[in-house]
Each structure stands twice: as C-alpha cells, then as structure tokens.
C-alpha cells in the first residue's frame, strides 16, 4: 500500500494566560491509503488537536510550532490558503462529534450536502443530489430519497450523524477524520452508525483517522491503534495485537477499566420495607403519556440500575420521584410513608432524604459560585451550620470525595476537570445526608478511567453510609459493575426487572437482548459477528438496489 499521510515530529502549542503551553509533543503519525487508524486517549490528550492538524488546520489560539504534515506529496503546513481550500472537503473531509451543532439549522440537509461537490466542481447540483440519495441509502437512512429535504432538526441525532458522514463522502475523499462521531449517541443507535461508517469506508477504500475514547468502539473500526496521553504517544500497534498484548502500563490500565465489578449483595428479605417504593406511576407531558404503570422497589444499601435507550422514560421516572413532574397516578413511598407527589408540597426533611446527581456537571453546578459555596449551601440549609462549623463540614465532605480541601474550596467549577466537577455534585448530594440518591447518567459524559473512579467512589460511599442508589444509565458496562438489581425500560414501560445476575443470564426479553448485544465488546470481530447474527450485513447495498429498481 502506498503512503497517504505522514506527520513527522509534530509539536503543537496552545495559548493561555499569555504563554504558549504544549498540547502535542513531537508525535509521529502515518497512514496508508485505505487504512483506518484509531486515535484514543482520555480528554485533554490532544486527540482532536492531532486530528485537525492532519488537515493542516489548528483552532484559534493554537499553533503548530514544529514538524511536518505531508498529505500525498503536499506539505500542508506550507501550502497556500488557496491550495488548502482546493484540498479540504474534496480530498480530506471531517466528521465532527456533534452533528447537531455542525449542521446549519437554517438549510436543508441535502443543500448543505451538495455545496461541497458543486463548489469543488466535482459534480453538478442534480448529480450531487442523486449521489446524496445513494449515499443515504448506503448509510441505511430511512426514506433516502426524501430525508435530505428535511431540516436538521427534523431528523434524529443518529440519522444526522450518518447524514454528516454522507456529506463527508460527497466528494469521495482520500481521507476522512472522524472526531468522536458516536460519543453522543446511545448504544442501539451507535451500532447502526458504526456499521454504516465501517461499510462505507471499506467500500470506497477511504483512509480514516477515527478519534474516540471508547476502546471497544475503536476495536471495531480501526486497523491500527495509537494511544495518546497528555500530548505524548504511548504506543502504536495493530488492533489485534494491541488488544491482546498491550505493552505500556497506561494502555493496560485503560484496558483494565472495564474489569471493575462490585460484588453483588445478597437479595433483601422480602418483608423488609423498601427505602423507595414506586407503585404504578403514570405520567404525561401535556397530553402525551410518557410513563405507563411503572413500579419497582429500592432497598436500603442497594443499587437499582434503570436501563433503556433515550426516550424510554428513565429520566422521567427520576423526575416523578423527585416531584418535579408530579405523576398523574400512582404512589411513591419513602420508608413506607407516601410522599406528596409535588416537590413543593414536601417538607424540608422529605426533600433532604432524596438527592440527585446530574449527568452534566457543567450545568448542575452554578458557574458563579465557589466549590465551598456550592457544597456549603445544603450544609447550611439543612443542618443549620454556619461560619467555621460549616467550613469544617465542607472540608470533611471534600475529603470524602478525595479532593484536597485547601486547594479546591475556593475554586470555581470552571477551574475543575469533568471528573472533579462530578465529584462536587456527589459532595453536594452527600451534604444533605440523604438515604437515597438518584444518579442520572453520572458517568456517561466522562472518560472511562475517570468514570471508573466515580463508580468506585459511589460504591465506597454506599458501603460506608448504607445509601440506596437509583442509577439511570444506558451503558450496560456500568450496570454490570455497580448494580444489584436492574430495571429495563422501553417506551415508558418496565420491560423486565430483577437481580443483576438473572438479567445477564438468558433467557431475556427480546428488548433486553437487543440492549445487551448492542454493547460494544473489546473483540475486533464483535461488530461483524453481531451484524451477521442480526442479518443486516449488506442492507445498505440492498437498499440502493431497491431504490434503483424503483
């Protein structure tokens, strides 16, 4: 195979506080025609910066200080702006993490699709539209002939991500850079997008750089994997070899994350009063029913994981329990006593007992308050501590969540990393000294290593304080590691529930089966095997054939 892209000794710096700080420290990268390279690492490792540098581009306030980027004999760092314009979009394309944020909401999808080919003079507008429809069919988008004429907000997130991949393909580029294209999607959607991307990259022999922090995903997509850590290369190897024999310690630790498993606690005595008992909850937004007759119990010191894809009613159930969305019917009991359904009617004591940890720590912490104020408020509000007592309690809580109090107490949330912010969210919930905590997708916005730390912390706190958790997630790996019992939800109904050990053992409800099998595994053949099992191997081609017949 011939060499397509060579990046030699690339150094990249970013400007902050009037100095240049290193982002990438002398990383080499090369890519052959038709090869897929996986670029992995935790956030801040410089994956995206490296991906953009492969296009000879860097963001504002960032510069490539040293090194060379050679794309098919063209030095991208020295090329003129006009020359790069002719190249980007036509021979090198980019698929961003959030398609929703990358499409212009004011134009139809297909108009944005055809812009590239028409600008670069590859195809006429009508040819390009015809081609777009074929690509949509290949990417298994529903109704490929018409979907392009919708506006971005009229299609789902997964469909939009595929439309963006189609757009990147529109000029049949030699190289596509995928920057975490499936991170924002849930498992069942992720599968479809992954399979589509892999098919189309194989069909056109396109080379790709696939950036992600999910090892299992990269194992399905890449021929070769490169691991980055804080701007340094850790190691590079063929996918199979990397998975079976990682060399560096850091890589091994990444691999080991998925091994974290808390021992299952013995089943509770059936006569024990559950901490929280949800009985026949029905809820609606306006006239649309979103929950139908949902019931489950959460016992003391146990974790109940609520699983399902987006829109299945997991978070709505949490909103019902907290009282933010008073259910239409049903009863919520706490320690055997019925709670008022509306949170405004609950007293301070009842509010204190049910705490919540949010998915996005960024929006869950007031950005204008210091850590001390954020954690101190519930301490003051519920416990009535003031002044020095309050500060001492906050320090204790920071200690609990393994953050040094003296360094963090006066910082603002924006000065913390994602994992640290999530820990502050936990501390704020703990400050109320509750019996029951709702964890709403607390780890899904985090890297695996950081997420593992959070899960371990939650497990430890549960053991120490005999807390009960309701753990909402779509990630079954998380369920496997932390849950005692599992509730599977779909379309606002409970499909299946029971102890974890039963849930992971067949026979399953078909939906549970679909969820379970959709979780990527660290086996490079997993996706192919799965698609073969589901019998959707070449649906893309079949769809094109069908469309042409019509």
């Amino acid at each position: 195979m011939s060499r397509l892209l060579t990046m030699k000794d690339v150094w990249i710096e970013g400007r902050s506080d009037e100095t240049w700080n290193p982002i990438i420290n002398g990383v080499d990268l090369h890519l052959d025609k038709g090869e897929v390279l996986g670029l992995i690492g935790e956030s801040g490792a410089g994956k995206s910066t490296m991906g953009l540098a492969a296009m000879g581009f860097c963001r504002d306030g960032v510069r490539i200080s040293k090194g060379s980027v050679d794309f098919d004999g063209i030095n991208l760092l020295k090329a003129s702006a006009a020359r790069k314009r002719a190249l980007l979009g036509k021979r090198i394309a980019y698929v961003a993490q959030s398609a929703a944020a990358s499409f212009n909401p004011a134009h139809r999808i297909i108009d944005q699709h055809t812009e590239g080919p028409v600008q670069h003079g590859v195809m006429s507008k009508s040819e390009s539209e015809r081609d777009a429809m074929e690509l949509y069919a290949k990417l298994r988008l529903p109704d490929p002939e018409n979907i392009g004429f919708r506006y971005p907000h009229q299609v789902s997130g997964g469909q939009l991500q595929r439309a963006m991949t189609a757009m990147a393909m529109s000029c049949r580029p030699d190289l596509i850079i995928f920057d975490e294209p499936t991170t924002a999607l849930d498992v069942t959607t992720q599968i479809e997008v992954l399979a589509s991307i892999r098919d189309i990259v194989e069909q056109f022999g396109t080379a790709a750089i696939y950036i992600t922090h999910d090892l299992a995903v990269v194992a399905q997509m890449a021929d070769r994997i490169k691991v980055l850590l804080k701007g340094d290369e850790v190691e590079t190897a063929e996918t199979r070899q990397m998975l079976s024999h990682p060399k560096a310690e850091y890589t091994k630790s990444l691999w080991a994350v998925r091994e974290f498993k808390r021992p299952q606690k013995p089943a509770v005595h059936t006569s024990a009063t559950p901490v929280v008992s949800v009985q026949g909850i029905t809820a609606a937004y306006g006239k649309i029913n979103v929950l139908h007759d949902v019931s489950f119990d959460i016992h003391e010191g146990r974790t109940v994981a609520v699983v399902g894809e987006s829109g299945s009613g997991k978070s709505t159930t949490a909103r019902c329990i907290t009282g933010l969305l008073p259910p239409r019917g049903g009863v919520i009991e706490f320690d055997g006593v019925a709670l008022p359904l509306d949170y405004r009617k609950r007293n301070k004591h009842q509010l204190r007992q049910v705490q919540m940890i949010y998915q996005m720590a960024d929006t869950a912490l007031n950005p204008r308050k210091t850590i001390g104020e954020i954690i101190g408020r519930p301490v003051e509000f519920y416990m009535g501590l003031k002044g020095r007592d309050k500060r001492r309690r906050v320090e204790e809580l920071l200690d609990e969540i393994e953050l040094p109090a003296d360094r963090y107490i006066d910082r603002l949330p924006s000065e913390l990393s994602g994992g640290q912010k999530q820990r502050i969210g936990i501390a704020r919930a703990l400050a109320a000294e509750p019996k029951f905590i709702i964890c709403d997708e607390v780890t899904s916005a985090l890297d695996q290593l950081v997420a593992e730390g959070i899960l371990k912390l939650l497990a430890r706190l549960q053991d120490e304080r005999n807390l009960s958790y309701m753990f909402i997630t779509h990630d079954l790996a998380t369920v496997r590691s932390i849950a005692d019992e599992v509730v599977v939800m779909k379309d606002g109904e409970v499909v299946e529930q029971g102890p974890k050990t039963d849930m992971f053992r067949p026979p399953h409800h078909p939906y549970t089966d679909l969820l379970l099998s959709s979780v990527p595994e660290m086996n490079p053949d997993w996706l192919s095997t799965l698609l073969a099992e589901r019998g959707i191997d070449n649906i893309g081609d079949a769809a094109v054939g069908k469309m042409n017949q019509e």
Partner: protein
C-alpha cells in the same frame, strides 16, 4: 459629476496599489503566508487606510499653518485631532499608572486592559470627581448671574474676539459662567441619569426574573403589559406623561424632577424586563436551578443568589447602554423644556439655550463652539461608558484568545 469621477479614480488607484502591495510583499518576503494568503480586498483595505491617514495628517498640517479666514475651515477638525491625541495620551498614562500602582490584582487588570477601556475608565473617573466635588471645583455658582460681566463671552479666552481669561469657556446669554454650569451639569444630568437607570434596573430586573422563574399567567400579564408600553414611541410617551406630571407638580420644580425620574425609569424598565426575562429563561432551565428548587429554596434565594450572578454580564452591558439612553432622554427632555428645570444647570438645557450660535460655525468657529461644549460633554461620556461596557462584556463572557 467630476467629484464622483475623482472618487472613483482614487478608489481604482487604491485597488491597483493594493495589488502591487501584495505582489511586492510576496516577492520581497519570499512568500510569507501573510502576503501570500492576503485577498485583494484586504490589500485594498490597507491601502485605503494609509491614504486616509495621509489625508488626515495633511489636513492637520494645513490647520496648523494656514491663517484666518482659511483656517476657520479646519478649526473643528484640528480640535478633534488634538482632543483625540490628548485623550489617547491621558488614557495611556492612566493605564501606565494603574500598572505600576495598586495591588497585584488591579495591576493584572490594567495589564490586560485595552486602551479604549482605560480611556473610558479615566473619563468616567473624571466625570465622577467633577460631579461629586462640583461645589469645590466650580469657580462660580450654577445660578449665579455675574454682576458687571458681559453676556455671551465666546469661549477660548482670546481677547481679540471678545474673550476673557477669567471665563475660559465664556458666559451664556444672561452672563453666567459656562465652565461652572458645565461642572454642575455633571452633577445634575449624570446623577439623575444614574439614579433613573438604577431604578429602571431594579424594576425591570426583578419583574423579568420573576416572570422567568414563575412563568404561567404572571409571565403572560407582565410580558403583555410590557409589549403595550413598548409599542408607544418612548420619547413621545415620556413627553406626554411629563406634561401631565408638570400639571400635577405645579410650581414644585423638585417634585417635577422626581416625577421625571419615575417616568423615565418605568419606560426604560420595559427594555430591561425583556432582557432579564430572556436571560432568566435560559438560566432557569439549568440543572443547578433544579437542584436548588429540590433543596426547597425560596423564590428570593433563587432569583438573587442563583440566577442573578449568572445574568450579570448581559445586564451590566445593558446597564451601560441604558445609562446612555436615559442620559440622552433626559438631555432631550430638558432641551424640549420639560426636563430638568432652570435655573438648575443641565447639559441639555445648555445646548438649547446657546443653540443659535451654531450658525456662526462657518466664519466664527470659536463662538459657535459655545453650545457644543455641553453637547461634547454628553458625547464624551456616552462613548466612555460604552468603551467600558464593551470591555467588561469581553472579560466576563470569556471571549479571550
């Protein structure tokens, strides 16, 4: 017609020069990206900027060398250039001072401050000092008609055209010292404008956040009321209400000023309401607000402790703009005769009283500058406040490199 031809000719010449600049630059520097990737329009812009600069310098040279009556044509131009340089130098010195004096935090603040912001701060500081210490600084009283002094002494203190060194800015039509009245005007106009803006923000901000937090029918009632108030042109509305208010107030001039503050505050609070509500609605949906609600926090805590700190940036920006508008409204009302009542000194009234001197601009620019002094004071403060607000907005929204 020939003027248009000249302009087109100059622009074409600039375009050619731009092309030449780019070509030469690329040759001389050996293909530096700066010249290589420069588009023709950018090169054209550089050339036009240079041409305008040369024209300004040439005009200024003429203004310094010509004698009357030709120099009269350049009088205001020269004033503008010299004023600009003076203020730039003052701002630069002020920033230098800030960088070397004070705490580490304030030094850092001044180090990152653009020159425009330091100019704005400097100007506002001077206005504030003048307003606070008006009684000490001003050589005469604001209502004092100077005995034995002629009326309408032109500013500049040049005896050749009837000026007097004792009254550097001259006297007005009934023989009051304009400098003293300008200084007292800072107290009256700026002070009242500041109080009015604060009141407008208190009313509009509180109601806006309340509407955003509670929503429902309260939001509907408040928003529709504001829509109705905003549908009426504000100056006409203010004039109408002021007419009614002057009937109520009768001969009580202090009471009329009080009514004016209330009227302008209410009218301007509609704009603040709209902004506060729009910003508030975006903040209310955040998870931290939900967390506070679930904690059982009351409405006051939610609005003032959770929402307000996150809305300060846009509100502050609006405060600066709103202050200017209020200030101009008061000046306009005074100019129309229903605002701040004589004999209190007020910049709007001063412009009106001396307005007829504008006609002298062509042949006696010094005389014509009398009404422009108060107008200039208004303009300068407006510009200064906007500079500071821009800078604050830039800082708080984190639009850093």
């Amino acid at each position: 017609m020939s003027v248009w031809l000249q302009i087109i000719g100059v622009l074409v010449a600039c375009l050619a020069l731009g092309w030449l600049l780019r070509f030469a630059g690329e040759r001389v520097t050996g293909g530096r990206p700066f010249f290589r990737d420069m588009s023709l329009s950018v090169a054209f812009g550089y050339v036009v900027a240079v041409v305008v600069l040369i024209w300004i310098i040439w005009s200024y040279y003429l203004a310094r060398t010509l004698v009357a009556p030709e120099v009269n044509k350049y009088f205001f131009f020269r004033l503008a250039i010299e004023g600009f340089l003076l203020f730039a130098a003052a701002a630069w010195l002020f920033r230098l001072l800030g960088r070397s004096v004070g705490t580490a935090g304030s030094k850092k603040l001044f180090r990152q401050m653009p020159l425009t912001a330091s100019f704005g701060l400097f100007t506002i500081l001077i206005y504030a000092l003048l307003a606070i210490f008006a009684g000490v600084i001003a050589p005469h009283g604001q209502e004092q008609i100077l005995q034995g002094v002629a009326a309408n002494i032109p500013p500049g203190g040049d005896p050749a055209i009837g000026g007097s060194a004792d009254y550097p800015l001259g006297t007005d039509q009934i023989g009051r010292d304009i400098l003293s009245r300008l200084i007292y005007g800072a107290q009256n106009t700026v002070g009242i404008a500041f109080a009015t803006t604060c009141l407008a923000f208190f009313i509009g901000g509180t109601l806006g956040f309340l509407a955003a937090t509670l929503g429902g029918w309260l939001d509907q009632i408040l928003s529709r009321t504001v829509d109705v108030l905003m549908a009426i042109p504000s100056l006409i509305f203010a004039l109408l209400l002021m007419t009614i208010a002057s009937a109520w107030a009768g001969s009580e001039k202090g009471l009329l000023t009080f009514y004016m503050v209330i009227i302008i505050a209410v009218i301007d609070s509609t704009r603040v309401f709209r902004l506060a509500r729009a910003v508030g609605v975006n903040i209310v949906v955040m998870d931290y607000i939900e967390a506070a609600k679930l904690r059982g926090e009351g409405l006051t805590y939610l609005i003032f402790k959770e929402i307000l700190p996150n809305a300060t940036a846009p509100l502050l920006a609006e405060f600066g703009l709103r202050f200017c508008f209020v200030f101009l409204t008061i000046a306009s009302l005074s100019f129309l005769g229903v605002g701040i009542q004589p004999p209190l000194a007020d910049w709007g009234t001063m412009v009106r009283d001396l307005a007829q001197f504008i006609n002298f601009a062509a042949f006696a620019p010094r005389v014509a500058s009398a009404p422009l002094l108060a107008a200039g004071a208004i303009a300068l403060l407006t510009v200064a406040v906007n500079f500071v607000v821009d800078w604050m907005l830039h800082r708080t929204t984190g639009l850093k490199e």
